[in-house]
């Protein structure tokens, strides 16, 4: 009987466990999922909490309940992975041997790595919406915010969902207009990138959308210090940006247990992984999925979902001694909430940047264009997440490989 251990009961771990449970009979594989707590957060929902559009209790469910019968779920910390012995050492010293290990431990915020970020003003005038507590604290602060300078700052890439900070700006603009105080607020987006986004066509479109809304864009700003007492961001090259309220997306690392596992993670604690097979380059029986993997693609739920199909196929092939399927193409797909009950959709992969057109085919949701339909799509996605994506059911018309049918290809100059 195969022993499959999955570290992490979030998006990647849950959908991988459920898909594997369906392909292996109970007498063929023992599947164990380990996580340190039993709170599965629907992370895309965090964006809406600061604006009172949802509440933390509405986006959190027990992890164990998202797993199919026949999957063993253990709520315990992981001390480290002993890759050479093929076993996981748990927080209490017990060990879990594995034939295949799937690392789905996500990423963790590292606000302490930025000088001053967790110092005076933290959770008072400096917040992040990337945690339920931070998002709830920010909701209270925004409710009373009617004039001054609101600064949204990405400290360092990579971050989870690179479009979320832009969505926050668009929603803040909408929120402040609804309350009639937009004219009294200066809204500024501060990024270490050289544009609003990494991919050129989308960066130009998103940069234009910031400008249309009167949101100032500051680029190539590498935050060295957050001075909450004086209300200023200071870059490493000594530029300063004043704020009354700061929304900061801290640097991200891999999970601490990866850092404690000799040879498993890179300098930031992410697992070096083959970008097409999802097998780690550390050991053949170790695979990684989602944010935990060090891949040149966004850390996002859609990426994790599309990786899942290829990963599950490759776990089976590995256990059967067959060559792996190198078909993951870096497919990512993001709804970008733009305020006023509209959203924009982008779809891209390792090779192809986001293009205009329709998704998934010529008749479908508009790409790179704000529409009410996309907003409804984004809202509906929460249901799809709990009832289709996590259980590992295929979503009709949506596949791992990026579709090209409805896209307008750029004409080469």
């Amino acid at each position: 009987m195969h022993q499959i251990v999955i570290l992490g009961g979030g998006t990647g771990g849950t959908l991988t466990a459920n898909r594997l449970r369906r392909v292996y009979g109970w007498d063929e594989a023992r599947i164990t999922v380990v996580d340190q707590d039993d709170a599965h957060v629907y992370q895309p929902g965090l964006l809406f909490v600061p604006f009172g559009l949802t509440h933390p209790e509405d986006i959190v469910r027990p992890r164990g309940r998202q797993l199919r019968p026949g999957i063993e779920y253990r709520t315990t910390g992981v001390d480290h992975v002993a890759t050479e012995r093929h076993e996981v050492v748990l927080g209490d010293g017990a060990t879990l041997p594995y034939d295949v290990l799937v690392v789905a431990t996500g990423s963790v915020l590292a606000p302490e790595e930025t000088e001053g970020l967790t110092g005076p003003g933290w959770m008072e005038r400096v917040f992040t919406f990337y945690t339920p507590e931070g998002a709830a604290g920010l909701e209270a602060a925004l409710a009373g915010f009617d004039h001054g300078r609101l600064v949204v700052n990405v400290v360092e890439m990579p971050i989870k969902c690179p479009v979320a900070p832009l969505e926050f700006c668009f929603l803040a603009d909408w929120f402040l207009r609804q309350r009639g105080v937009r004219d009294a607020v200066e809204l500024t987006y501060v990024t270490p990138l050289d544009g609003a986004f990494t991919k050129p066509v989308a960066a130009a479109r998103l940069g234009g959308m910031l400008a249309e809304r009167g949101i100032e864009l500051v680029t190539e700003f590498n935050t060295g210090e957050v001075d909450g007492a004086a209300g200023r961001l200071v870059s490493y090259d000594e530029r300063e940006i004043a704020f009354d309220l700061a929304v900061v997306i801290p640097a991200h690392n891999g999970a601490p247990c990866i850092g404690r596992s000799p040879g498993l993670g890179d300098a930031l604690g992410f697992v070096p992984t083959d970008q097409h097979t999802l097998q780690s380059t550390v050991a053949p029986e170790v695979f990684a999925v989602g944010d935990a993997a060090s891949l040149p693609i966004s850390k996002a739920g859609s990426v994790t979902h599309f990786e899942g199909e290829v990963l599950v196929e490759n776990v089976q092939r590995y256990l059967a001694g067959k060559p792996l399927d190198a078909s993951y193409d870096g497919h990512a797909n993001c709804f970008i909430e733009t305020g006023f009950h509209k959203a924009m959709l982008i779809d891209f992969n390792y090779e192809v940047e986001p293009l205009p057109g329709h998704f998934p085919a010529e008749v479908g949701l508009p790409l790179m264009k704000e529409s009410h339909l996309n907003h409804l799509g984004k809202l509906m996605f929460q249901w799809v997440y709990w009832h289709s994506l996590l259980p590992g059911r295929d979503i009709p018309g949506i596949h791992s490989a990026m579709p090209t049918a409805g896209k307008k290809q750029p004409v080469d100059a």
Binding site: E113, E156, M157, P158, P162, P192, L193, T198, E220, N222, G224, Y236, D237, A251, D266, A267, L268, P272, P296, I297, S298
Partner: protein, 105 residues
């Protein structure tokens, strides 16, 4: 693809001036690229970072980002900004003759 003559050697570069073939690089090219970016002279500390970048590129196929450099090169992020103002990872990669770090997606 554009060709640039740097320190007497013709090399292939991209539109941002990054070498597209790291094997065409040599020390004289590094000194000239640094001078063009306003770094003159290249101190031993600059060389340490540039050599580290090249070694990382050879081992991993991509240059490190500034945070990874700060954690692994033995040069703090603060000092990196003093040595290579504005964008240490980008600038040091350019001088080291390797592609722009792709860490930011």
């Amino acid at each position: 693809m554009p060709v640039d003559t740097i320190a007497g050697t013709p090399v292939d570069v991209n539109e941002e001036g990054f070498l597209t073939d790291p094997s065409q690089w040599n020390d004289d090219i590094a000194v000239e690229l640094a001078r063009r970016e306003g770094i003159d002279p290249m101190t031993e500390r600059h060389w340490e970072v540039v050599r580290f970048m090249r070694a990382e590129y050879e081992a991993k196929g991509t240059g490190p980002t500034v945070r990874v450099l700060g954690k692994t090169s033995g040069v703090s992020v603060k000092e990196l900004y003093l040595l290579f103002p504005k964008g240490p990872a980008k600038l040091a990669a350019k001088i080291a003759g390797i592609p722009k770090p792709r860490g930011c997606i």
